[in-house]
């Protein structure tokens, strides 16, 4: 099943998926290009670099250092500090909780750690903390190893995924983008854990959809734990993974010449990319390494201006088309009729209003031919000059 996908990668080894990349799959589900490349484990950052559209996805080492420091502090002395936080949050008895560290992160021990995780979960009962567990999830026919921060057992035998993040909760409020990213990541772990329990013959519902997010409190390094319900994220994730499974068929249908080996010359890579349709949206810029190339490719489409603008323009695909419809130089199709009428009305209004003003000093080049704003051509410039 994954043969076609492996072929797409050329000679390069597959990129390792993690919860973060799987979580990213849930954004922009309509993009086939991304689905195929991610399923194949192609090295998107390298491809983007090779074709001259490098992304900008660095992470500051200060942020990494703080994240690691916070986690180390919580897990010191067999998770003493973490236990007190979880104790309040999950009613976990601070005494009598077993703690199992399944070993450090290293590529060569993956299978062994996963086996230990399975063994531990198969026989576990009672309150326990499992550190460095290793789970697996099938993503488009590929087995992916995942490392949750921690799994905590509650006394009643329900499992909770614990996610440790070093961003701050100030007066009970945190950055919503960071919280939702953490929630999607935790949902990936919940799903993987449920699949594992199912394999082991347990009830998958033993894994709670309530995950625990441990963050720093206010402006200090003191931990604060909150419970997040990730049911919604789980549903999205399941749907996405089912969709990815059908990606293999898509990949198999591609011509045999298509390859995403980052060592190929740029022209070949671009030719290969153009075989698979992308669906660019501005949100891609913050999640996908290929976004800059796709943006370049999507220039002149209304989708590149973002969803609200595209909707305001009646869902018409190309900027040229919008302008032609507004100017009345193009006959609208039946389904464009309504949008075209609105666009013409907007163009008339704008022409009327702009003729009332003397041509004021407008900075050179500030009158782009691309309409933007909520109502199309009526709003190329939002204020009067």
């Amino acid at each position: 099943m994954s043969g076609a996908l492996d072929r797409l990668r050329g000679g390069a080894p597959p990129k390792r998926h993690n919860a973060r990349t799987i979580a990213a799959l849930t954004s922009n589900p309509g993009c086939t290009r991304r689905a195929v490349l991610d399923a194949a484990g192609a090295d998107k950052p390298k491809i983007a670099q090779q074709i001259g559209f490098p992304g900008n996805f660095g992470q500051s080492r200060f942020a990494l250092a703080r994240g690691n420091g916070f986690e180390a502090m919580l897990k010191a002395d067999d998770c003493a500090l973490l236990l007190t936080v979880l104790g309040d949050c999950l009613r976990l008895e601070p005494t009598g909780v077993s703690y199992d560290d399944l070993g450090d992160d290293a590529d060569d021990t993956l299978a062994a750690r996963h086996a230990r995780t399975r063994r531990l979960l198969a026989g576990a009962a009672g309150a326990a903390l499992i550190d460095h567990p290793l789970l697996t999830l099938d993503v488009a026919g590929q087995r992916v190893f995942l490392e949750p921060d921690l799994i905590a057992f509650q006394v009643e035998g329900r499992l909770h995924v614990v996610e440790i993040k070093s961003f701050a909760i100030v007066d009970g409020q945190a950055d919503s983008a960071k919280v939702s990213a953490a929630a999607v990541q935790a949902a990936v772990y919940v799903l993987a854990l449920r699949r594992l329990l199912e394999e082991l013959g347990h009830d998958p519902e033993l894994v709670s959809h309530d995950v625990v997010l441990v963050c720093t409190e206010n402006f200090s390094l003191n931990p604060a734990a909150v419970v997040l319900d990730v049911r919604k994220q789980l549903a999205t994730l399941k749907r996405q993974l089912t969709r990815l499974a059908s990606v293999s068929a898509l990949a198999a249908a591609l011509p045999a010449s298509v390859s995403f080996d980052p060592a190929l010359p740029p022209a070949d890579l671009i030719a290969a990319l153009s075989e698979i349709e992308a669906s660019y949206a501005p949100e891609c810029l913050s999640t996908c390494e290929l976004a800059f190339y796709c943006r370049h490719e999507a220039a002149g489409s209304t989708a590149a201006l973002g969803r609200p603008v595209q909707d305001a323009l009646g869902g018409i695909g190309a900027v040229d088309e919008v302008l032609a419809l507004a100017a009345g130089t193009r006959t609208p199709t039946a389904e464009q009729a309504e949008a075209a009428e609105l666009l013409r009305a907007a163009a008339r209004l704008r022409a009327e209003l702009m003729s009332n003003f003397p041509p004021g000093p407008r900075p050179e080049g500030s009158g782009p031919s691309i309409p933007a704003g909520r109502c199309g051509p009526g709003h190329v410039e939002k204020g009067s000059p």
């Binding site: 900008n56 660095g58 992470q59 500051s60 080492r61 200060f62 942020a63 990494l64 250092a65 703080r66 994240g67 070093s166 961003f167 701050a168 100030v170 007066d171 009970g172 720093t216 206010n218 402006f219 200090s220 501005p282 949100e283 810029l285 913050s286 590149a304 201006l305 973002g306 609200p308 603008v309 609105l342 009305a345 907007a346 209004l349 704008r350 209003l353 009332n356 000093p361 900075p363 050179e364 080049g365 500030s366 782009p368 031919s369 691309i370 309409p371 933007a372 704003g373 909520r374 109502c375 009526g378 709003h379 190329v380 410039e381 939002k382 204020g383 009067s384 000059p385």
Partner: protein, 459 residues
């Protein structure tokens, strides 16, 4: 048309935060003149003393700037002339690059306003005062139409549209590149060039990760950082944004102000005067979170302000009104009939109720009984008596007028539209909106948690 007040001498603040930390300042460039940027830095952001030294320095700049307006005041009649209150004739105005800058100031205000000035971790008295001012500004930035704390990205976006998405517009350099590209370049080219963090460093508060890793980390990882070198790289990192800020201000100053901008600035001066008074009276710092009653009242005020602002912008600016005309909430038509002396004597006493007929080719989505206003005569109400389609393209609207015509039974000259006049009518209205009635704090209903316990003094 400009929809916000641009102060002749605003205080520009560009904060930079330490990556990963909870709103820990790294540096800030501040000043009221383009030629005199002042750089404040934190040599060791994780060191508490250094952070509060930075806060004290910022307080020195900001509190002095803000206090500078608490001088000349003007009397304002209140309670129908029975009383008088004073309002300062000018108020401070802060500018930051983007919404991230506003959030930074809010959180920095939160982290400083409860600090103690005595005891073990004492800070200079200016630090909690800074926190209270920053909180005041951050709160006012949430009020639609307020110009006390503005961010350049939003202010420019309000007046110019670009051919890029809002995600790309959020970067000040790319946005300005598009709006006013350097000679010889198109907006799209300039915007693209501005995306390279090596050319245009991010406008903060987040720093460029590769700057963190390759430039900053070697400098601040040592126990005794080289302050001179650190200052130099931070200055280089902030200066491009500093120049962009002043360019943005110049561009905005080049637009003529809408006629209702001054009225909203009056409201801002009221808010400023009120807060100066609150501080002088020894009022407590703003609470961490509003109680139920305070939150509901604030929400109500914000909603009122949002509605008023939307209406005022449309009345000021024909291009904003065009949006309402497009959707049928406003239309321009020609007066074809006018009966200026019509008297309605069906009530107890006769009243002047002229009627006019307006014909428009534009879409009309108002119903019989709706009350319309015309920006040309804001004090006059036009009640829709009937809406009739004349043919495919035109609609006749019959209106009955009331108000704004003097007290007599004969309308003042010019107060009733005449035949042939082009008239804009809209469902938007500038009418006064009464404040909501909310219970006292100690009368908070049980559905909202009951009366709150008194706010604990926090550190």
């Amino acid at each position: 048309m400009r929809h916000l007040h641009v102060h002749p001498s605003p205080l520009v603040i560009i904060p930079l935060a330490m990556a990963g930390e909870a709103n820990t300042p790294l540096a800030a460039m501040v000043g009221t003149t383009a030629g005199e940027p002042r750089l404040l830095t934190v040599a060791q952001p994780r060191n508490r003393d250094h952070r509060f030294a930075f806060a004290a320095e910022l307080a020195d700049v900001l509190v002095r700037y803000v206090d500078g307006f608490a001088g000349a005041a003007e009397p304002i009649a209140v309670d129908r002339g029975r009383d008088v209150r004073y309002r300062f004739t000018d108020a401070p105005q802060l500018w930051v690059p983007n919404t991230g800058g506003v959030d930074f100031l809010r959180l920095f205000g939160r982290s400083t306003r409860f600090r103690g000035t005595e005891g073990e971790y004492a800070v200079p008295p200016s630090v909690p005062l800074l926190g209270r001012w920053l909180t005041f500004f951050a709160n006012s930035a949430e009020v639609p139409g307020s110009s006390l704390l503005l961010n350049a990205v939003q202010a420019l976006g309000l007046h110019w549209a670009t051919g890029q998405s809002s995600a790309e517009d959020a970067q000040l350099a790319a946005l300005l590149g598009w709006i006013s590209p350097p000679p010889g370049r198109t907006g799209a080219e300039a915007a693209l060039a501005a995306e390279d963090p090596a050319v245009s460093p991010p406008a903060g508060p987040a720093t460029d990760p590769s700057f963190d890793n390759h430039v900053l980390a070697p400098l601040i990882s040592s126990a005794s950082p080289d302050v001179a070198a650190l200052t130099e790289v931070l200055h280089a990192q902030l200066l491009p944004t500093w120049e962009l800020m002043w360019r943005a201000l110049d561009l905005l100053r080049g637009l003529p102000a809408g006629s209702r901008v001054a009225g909203r600035w009056d409201g801002d001066r009221d808010a400023y005067s009120g807060f100066v008074q609150h501080l002088a009276d020894g009022g407590p710092p703003q609470p961490r979170r509003d109680g139920a009653v305070a939150a509901a009242a604030r929400l109500h005020r914000l909603e009122n302000a949002a509605t008023r602002y939307a209406v005022q912008r449309a009345f000021d600016d024909p291009l904003v009104m065009a949006e309402y005309r497009l959707s049928g909430a406003a239309f321009v038509g020609q007066v074809t009939l006018a009966k200026a002396d019509r008297i309605d004597d069906s009530g107890k006493r006769p009243v002047l109720r002229p009627r006019i007929m307006v014909v428009t080719p534009e879409p009309v989505r108002v119903e019989k009984g709706a009350a319309l206003t015309s920006p040309a005569r804001p004090g006059q109400k036009a009640l829709v008596v009937s809406v009739t389609a004349v043919d495919d393209a035109r609609t006749e609207v019959l209106l009955e007028l009331s108000g704004g015509m003097g007290r007599k039974l004969v309308a003042e000259p010019g107060s009733v539209p005449e035949v042939g006049e082009r008239l804009l009518l809209t469902t938007l209205s500038e009418a006064y909106r009464p404040g909501g009635a909310f219970p006292d704090r100690d009368q908070t209903p049980w559905t909202h948690g009951g009366p709150p316990a008194s706010e604990p003094d926090g550190a």
